[in-house]
Every structure is written in structure tokens, then in C-alpha cells.
Amino acid sequence: MIPFTQYVRGLAGDDDLVRLDGPFEVPVDVLAAEALRASGPALRFQRPTGIDLVSGVFSGPDQTQHREARPWSRLALGLGLEPDATLVDLLETISTLGPTGGNPEPTYAGQAASGTDIDVQDLQLPQGETDMWPAVTLGVASVSTADGTHWAPVHGSVVGGDTLRVRVPDALSSLVADGTTMTIALGVPPAAITTAYLLAVTEQTTTPIQSCGVTGTVPLVPTNGGLVPSATEVVIETTVVDRQPDFRSDRREGWEYVVASGPLSLSVESVRATDTPVIPISPVGRPLADDIQLTGLATAATLYHRVNNYWGISPVEWVMLPAEAELGICFVASDVLYGGFEWQLANILFSFSSLFDTVVIVDEDVPPQDFGRVLADVWLKSHPARDWTFSEPDAPAATRPHYRTDNETGSRLYVNAAWDPRWKETYIAPRVTFQNSFPGNVRDVARALWDESDTGPEDTTESGASR
């Protein structure tokens, strides 16, 4: 388990985090959003209060350019994977954090957040230009029931020194009543926030974390609300005072597009922080925001697990809900087992997620890190008439897109950008690649030419990296 501060130090050590010193004339969330939009590094906002904010730590560069790093590279490091971890490595790791079917032995440790002389406004959480209040993002809500502790993502506002108004999944709301204590944890280990998102998008928030893999990896500590990671940066203990406050937020975190959520009004009882707390923030509603990346990866992990445990075999190479498409398109690489399999695959993905109503299927040999190839094959391999297949117009609208928000039904679409398994082998056009288009001795000559050159392109991967 990697504590949040260690994770942030690691990003800085990898030159993947840039420090900005206050004061900040430009709103912090705008700085965070612009850094993400530019596929820049994570940011650390150093403030004289000693309470720092960090952004972009769960996001990453977009894949519309070839880059050394992937959108998921930072989170992979946070979950203890190697820097060159594949998307599938990450998806499988995320799945292990969820319900295990057993009860892993928890580890308990002392609470890192022990300072108590601040209130919630002292945290100076970011407030956007159009926001009325400072925003709570990337939080984990913890409540306790007779079954154990339940975690869920939480998103809300600081409306006073002792009042938060937040949104949580309805499943968590159903577990609390007025007067119930709830802890909001900010700056938890990456494994913990990933678990909260995973439980939310799989609608398993009511499953106690004692039945989840995360319990075996993240040391915990009891609080008034429920167990939280002992290495949490800021622990806010609250009491539910209103389960139906008049509270709406124009912007939603990614998980709010997946599951129904509702507002809660919370009375802050105490705020405990580490000596020099570091709090993650997400520029919610902006491109490539951290909450969108977390939601996309947690959903992809779920779908990958489900489709590969459905037909008795595992034909799917990877599933991706890229933040570049704001979770509104699901891309899947698969062995198309037989004619019509692509229909089954697309429609089972529609069954398992309501986020999107467009699925794009590419061949199994397309690697997820070569998204440029995906964005070419979509148009090149699919016949404009035969391979863009629309359902009858009686499907419910997906939750992420902006259209048909009035519950009107409509069509779903899948694009088959994979070779037709019924085609003869001779119909399959070979790709033009360095490997395919030149014999080995010629490739050696070409490599040697550039290797001997001071100004040659770096010998990284065949796809290359942007300068």
C-alpha cells in the first residue's frame, strides 16, 4: 500500500509533478484544468498555510498524441505497479481491490491525521470562478453499519465552518439516518479511493470493505464514521443533519453519471490533519479531470472482468472508456470469435453499463497504448454502410452524453472495426509497419543509420514518442 504523500513524492521524483508557489491570482481549479487539458504534469499548489493541494494525480496525458506516459500511468504507480504496467495489469489490479468473496484480514495502524486545531474552511479548498462555495472533490465517505464499514466517493461543498453539503451514492444514503456519523477522508492512498470508485460503479457500495481486497492491503483506523485508511491526510468527522437538503451542483464527478446519487447536509464535528497535509483535487467538469479518469478505469476494470468471465473463455484483450471521450464511448479489443460475435459483445457491454450507447470494436492485436491506431481503424476498417450498426430506437439513453436527457428512447450503435472472421485470409490487407514492410537486414540498416546519428529519433517503440 502506498500512502498518498509517498505517492505524491514519487510523482515529483519522476518529474511528473510541478510545484506552484502561492499566492494564486488565478483560481486553482482553472490552473489544474489547464494543466490537464495540455496533458501536463500533476501540480502541487504550495501554500503558506502548510496545507497543500495537488491536482492531476489520478489523471494523465491524453492519448491523442503518442507519449511515453499513459493516462493510467500515475494511478498504476499509486497501486504499486511498475512504470511500464499495461492497461490490463492495472484493470486486473483494480478488480482485486473489490469484493473478494472472503474476508481478508485487516491491518490496523495509528491515525496519521492527528492535528485538530483547524476547521473545514481552513483547508481552503478550491473555489471556481462560478462556484458559490469551495469544492470537496476526490473524497471518500465512510460509514459504519452492523455489516461493517462502507466506502463511497463523495463530492460537495464547504458551505460554512461547520457545514458540508455533499452528494453520495444513493446506496450509501440508504445506510444513514439523521444523526448518523459519517467520516470524509481526503488524501487517502490511491488504492482506497480507487476502491470507493469501484464499489460505486459496480453498485456494491453496500458491500462492507471488510469483504474487499483493499482491506488486505490498506492499513485502517477506526473513526466515528467508520474505518478509514490510517494514512489519510485529512479526516473530517461529521454527523448527518439533513438527508434531503436543497442542494444541487452544476458539475458532477464522474461516478455520478454511473449511479444515482443524492444530497446530504453534514455537520462537521472535527477536522484532523497531518502536520503538512496534502489534499487531492479534481477540476470537476473539465476535460481529463481526475474523477473522470478514476470512473473510466474502475468501469473498464469491471467490464473487462465481466466480459471475460461470461462465455467460458476470455476473448477480450482490453476495454477502455477513455477520458478523451468523456466516458461516452466504450472501446474494446477482442478476438471476434465468429460472425455475429461482435453483436453479442457490443450488446453485453450495453447491458453491463449505462454510461455509453456507442461501442467500438477493434481487432485483438491493437494495443491499448496505440490509441492513434484505434482512432484510425475506427474509420478505415469499418464499412460505412455495413459495419455501423444501429439498434431499434427503443433503448434508454445513456447517462453520460448530453442528448436525450428527457428519458426519450433511441438507438444504440456499435462500430465493427475488426476483420470479419468469415473473410478469407487473402482478403486481410497486411498493415504497413516497420516490422511488416522491411526484412530484418533492412531494418537493421535503418536502425544503425539513426543510431550512429547524433540527431536521430530516439529508439523507443515503433510508434515513437512525441518530442
Binding site: V18, R19, L20, E25, V26, P27, L31, A33, E34, A35, A38, S39, G40, T64, G128, E129, T130, P287, E324, A325, E326, L327, G328, F356, T358, D370, G372, R373, L375, A376, W379, H383, P384, A385, P401, H402, Y403, R404, S411, L413, W423, P430, V432, F434, S437, F438, P439, V445, L449, W450, S453, T455, G456, P457, E458, S463, G464, A465, S466, R467
Partner: protein, 501 residues
């Protein structure tokens, strides 16, 4: 000031560190192409092969000279046009569009003042095989010239019509030209010269100056001259010189000119070839024969070639870049001239000849249908299969923004429109038709018809990001640059001239 020749352009690349000359012998037989492909996929310098192995020649090969940097493909061409460095993509488009709107007629020069006439070979001195035409991909049908401008007669303009069609070398005086009916020069051959039994005079211009090279992929309306648009783009007249053996005029600063004619009722094998969609395209087909009558060239001619197929996905090559930096602004000008109020028309970076993105308002119901119909029946007829329409406020040069618009705004129920299902012509340069469907029609188009589609990814209202003002975003970007982030990553540090973004 814009450059006047390929050589000046290569010198410009050299001064910015984007050129690499290799003195050691490199073979035309796949080696030059392989080294170029590595540079294309790795975003490396443009290679110049000074010494060609296995052939006595003073010619040099240049691999994909117009390929731009992957992050900012327009940068090199902007310098060739004399623009300042660091322009945003939108500003670059604005400037090119302004130049295309001010065409400049070419001027003729005498032969003795034309560098392309430094050496003149006619009659028995003509020998195509004395030049190091590259064998580009293993599996190609032969050696190719595929980075050139073809000049053909046009009764409506004084200067002929310019286009580009790949050419497979057969022997010392013959080559086959991929002429696909539906395009202007092929139509001239199939439906005018050949039915009359007359040879069509043609000049193949290799290594023309950048603005000339860029017009070959533009769709210039009938009756207008590519030469005038090249001059507008250059902001100076293009020098032309008359051919030695026919009445055509060719760019005077070109590296090499093949003068000849396309014979009627004669065909030679052409293909297969790894073409622009990134896959080997077959089968071998019969295509019209180009017979060379004269060859003129500069001393030590530089012969550019393109490793087609490496400009899809993340990769860039000359043709994918030229589409983005020249065909896109040209299409924008053309659509505006046709009465459509488009902000920008831009080829999709990952497959630049199959999909285009058009940022536009929708002034009235049915506007997008009319726009798509216009394009699919004119310049988008044969090659382009898809158009994506986005709001005028969306930057079509930003693939993430376009992808987001498709995902969030394009309703499968209402916004995906298939045109002419199984009724529209298609070039056989595709991989979704079977070889049987492609067939071998006499005029080059596929035997089976296909469909085209457009996607309406515009919003129904105002869905742009309003959470921060443009000024705040700009100040944020300035602050991030102060902190060490690369200014080239940001879109608001270069104010778009004359417009508010």
C-alpha cells in the same frame, strides 16, 4: 518571405535541426524507405540520402520532407511560407486562408533561367532507370515515384491542371499511373483523350517548391488554376517554364521533370502498394501507361518520396501533413466560396484522407445535409467516407475535443446519417471491400458501390465549457508556462488574429 524551392526548404529545415544528411551509401531498395519510416513514426529529423548504393547517380533521395512534428504538424510548412514560429493551429489556418483568398498569377521564365533545365535529355538519352526510384515497401508491385505534381492539359486554364497520382516505374521510358476516374486528370484521360484515341500530354514534376507541392492535393474549382493558388499561398508568383516536348508549363525551380504522354488504349500493371490508409492495397491492376519523352533536371536533383502508410495513427508523413496544412485551409476557402459559413475544415489527423472534421454553425434546418451533400458530390466523393460536424467553437485540430463532441453530442438515434447506401462510387484504395467487390473496372473505381456517412456532433445549445472565462484560462496558461510547462502545449497564448476564440 516564402521559400522558392525544395532546396531552400531543406536548408530551412537544416537550420532548425530538423534535417539529417546521410553521407554513407544507402540503397533505394527498401533501405531509404525503412530509415524514413523510422523517422516518421519516431518524430525524428527529415532524412536526406546523399549517396545511393547500387547505382551511379548524382541524385539524392529525400524521405518525406514535408512531414511536420507530431505535436504541431503545421510548424515546418508555416516556416516555409515565411510565417513566424509558434503559431497556434487556428492562427496558422487563418493566415493560410487569407493567402489563398489572394491568388497570384504565375509568371513565365525563359528556359535558360529555369533551374529545372540545367540538364535536358531527350530521345535516346531518356532513361528513367538512371534515377534511384525507391522501392518503398516489401510487397509493392515495383519502384515508385509518389511525391510529385502531375501537370496535365486543361482547356479552361492557361497553366493546365495539377494533381498527384502515384506512378510505378516499368522500364527506361514507361511507367503506369494510378488514374482513378472521378478526379479531374483521370476524367480528362478516360472521357476525353482516350475516346478520341489521342495521347494526353503530361509532365511529372518531382521536387517542386513547397507551395506547388501542396496544391496537388487541393480541390481547385474548374476554371481556376492551381498555379495561381500556389502563388497566393506563397504571396509571390510561381515561376513556370515551358516543357521541351509539349505545350505544358512546369514549375521552374523543380528538381526533376518527366515530360511525356499517357497513351490511349494501353495499360500496364500497377500495384499493389502500401498506401495512405496504412495497409497494403491490392490486387495488382491495369492502369494507363505514361511514356516519357524528355527528362530535365537540376544538377544533383533531390528526389522526394513518401513512405505512404506511415502517416496514419500517431505517425505523420508528407502527404498526411500536406493535407492538414494545405488541403484543410483550401477546403475551408472552398466551402465558404460555396456559401457555407464554416469556421474550419480539417482532415482527421489519424487517417487524413478518410475522415474530415468541419467546425460550423447550423444557420438553418437541413444545413448539415446540404453541406454533406455538396462535399460528397465534389471533392469528397471518392476517398472520404466520413464527415464529422462540430460546433464552430470546437477546435477541429484538437482530436480530444472532437472525440468528446462525438461521444457527448452525436446521438446514434438522430445524428448519424448514411448517404447513398450502397449507391456511391468508391476508389479501390480501401480495405473494407473484398477483392471481389473492388473488381477491376476499366476506369479505376471499385466495382461495388458503397456508402458515405456524416456525423452531427454539434450541440443543440451552448455546451461549451463556461466554468472559466477565456481571459482566466489565458492567465492560467501563462502561469503554468512560468512554472516551466511548455508553451507550445497551450492554445490561448497565441491570440487568433481578428477573432475572439
Amino acid at each position: 518571405m516564402a521559400v522558392n524551392s525544395l532546396r531552400e526548404y531543406l536548408d530551412l529545415l537544416d537550420t532548425t535541426g530538423w534535417l539529417r544528411s546521410f553521407d554513407q551509401p544507402v540503397s533505394w531498395d527498401l533501405e531509404a524507405s525503412a530509415a524514413t519510416m523510422l523517422a516518421n513514426i519516431r518524430d525524428g529529423p527529415v532524412p536526406v540520402f546523399e549517396s545511393i548504393a547500387g547505382i551511379e547517380t548524382e541524385s539524392k533521395l529525400v524521405g518525406d520532407p514535408y512531414r511536420g512534428p507530431q505535436t504541431r504538424p503545421w510548424d515546418h510548412f508555416a516556416q516555409a511560407l515565411g510565417f513566424p514560429s509558434g503559431l497556434s493551429g487556428c492562427t496558422y489556418y487563418d493566415r493560410v486562408i487569407a493567402r489563398l483568398n489572394r491568388t497570384k498569377a504565375p509568371r513565365t521564365v525563359a528556359s535558360h533561367r529555369a533551374p529545372c533545365k540545367e540538364t535536358v535529355r531527350t530521345g535516346t538519352e531518356v532513361d528513367l532507370l538512371s534515377f534511384p526510384w525507391p522501392y518503398i515497401h516489401e510487397g509493392d508491385g515495383g519502384r515508385y515515384s509518389n511525391h510529385h505534381t502531375i501537370v496535365a492539359p486543361d482547356p479552361d486554364t492557361e497553366w493546365g491542371t495539377w494533381s498527384s497520382h502515384r506512378m510505378m516505374i516499368h522500364d527506361s521510358s514507361q511507367a503506369s499511373l494510378l488514374l482513378l476516374a472521378g478526379e479531374q486528370v483521370p476524367n480528362r484521360y478516360y472521357y476525353d483523350y482516350e475516346p478520341r484515341g489521342e495521347p494526353m500530354p503530361v509532365a511529372v514534376v518531382i521536387g517542386a517548391e513547397p507551395t506547388v507541392e501542396s496544391t496537388a492535393d487541393m480541390w481547385i474549382p474548374t476554371g481556376r488554376s492551381e498555379a495561381a493558388f500556389a502563388g497566393g499561398l506563397k504571396n509571390a508568383p510561381v515561376d513556370l517554364v515551358q516543357c521541351e516536348t509539349n505545350d505544358l508549363y512546369v514549375p521552374a525551380t523543380a528538381e526533376l521533370v518527366l515530360e511525356g504522354h499517357v497513351r490511349p488504349d494501353d495499360r500496364l500493371d500497377e500495384g499493389p502498394f502500401g498506401d495512405y490508409f496504412g495497409y497494403m492495397n491490392g490486387p495488382r491492376r491495369s492502369m494507363p501507361v505514361f511514356e516519357v519523352d524528355a527528362i530535365t533536371h537540376r544538377h544533383e536533383p533531390r528526389l522526394p518520396f513518401c513512405v505512404e502508410g506511415s502517416g496514419v495513427g500517431y505517425g505523420q508523413n508528407s502527404t498526411s501533413t500536406l493535407r492538414l496544412v494545405a488541403a484543410g485551409p483550401d477546403a475551408t476557402v472552398g466551402l465558404r466560396a460555396a456559401g457555407f459559413d464554416v469556421a474550419m475544415a480539417v482532415p482527421w489527423r489519424f487517417t487524413s484522407r478518410t475522415v474530415w472534421v468541419i467546425a460550423t454553425d447550423r444557420p438553418y434546418p437541413g444545413y448539415l445535409h446540404e453541406l454533406a451533400n455538396f462535399i460528397f458530390t465534389t471533392w469528397g466523393m471518392l476517398h472520404i467516407d466520413f464527415f464529422v460536424f462540430v460546433d464552430a467553437a470546437v477546435d477541429p485540430l484538437d482530436p480530444r475535443a472532437v472525440l468528446t463532441a462525438i461521444a457527448l453530442e452525436a446521438d446514434p438515434d438522430a445524428d448519424f446519417h448514411q448517404f447513398g447506401v450502397e449507391r456511391m462510387p468508391k476508389v479501390p484504395l480501401n480495405i473494407y471491400q473484398t477483392p471481389d467487390e473492388k473488381g477491376s473496372a476499366d476506369v479505376g473505381t471499385s466495382k461495388a458501390k458503397t456508402a458515405k456517412a456524416y456525423i452531427d456532433a454539434t450541440t443543440d445549445g451552448d455546451a461549451t465549457d463556461t466554468t472559466a472565462t477565456a481571459e482566466t484560462r489565458k492567465r492560467a496558461q501563462e502561469r503554468l508556462v512560468e512554472a516551466g510547462l511548455d508553451a507550445a502545449r497551450f492554445d490561448r497564448l497565441d491570440e487568433r488574429e481578428g477573432k475572439s476564440q
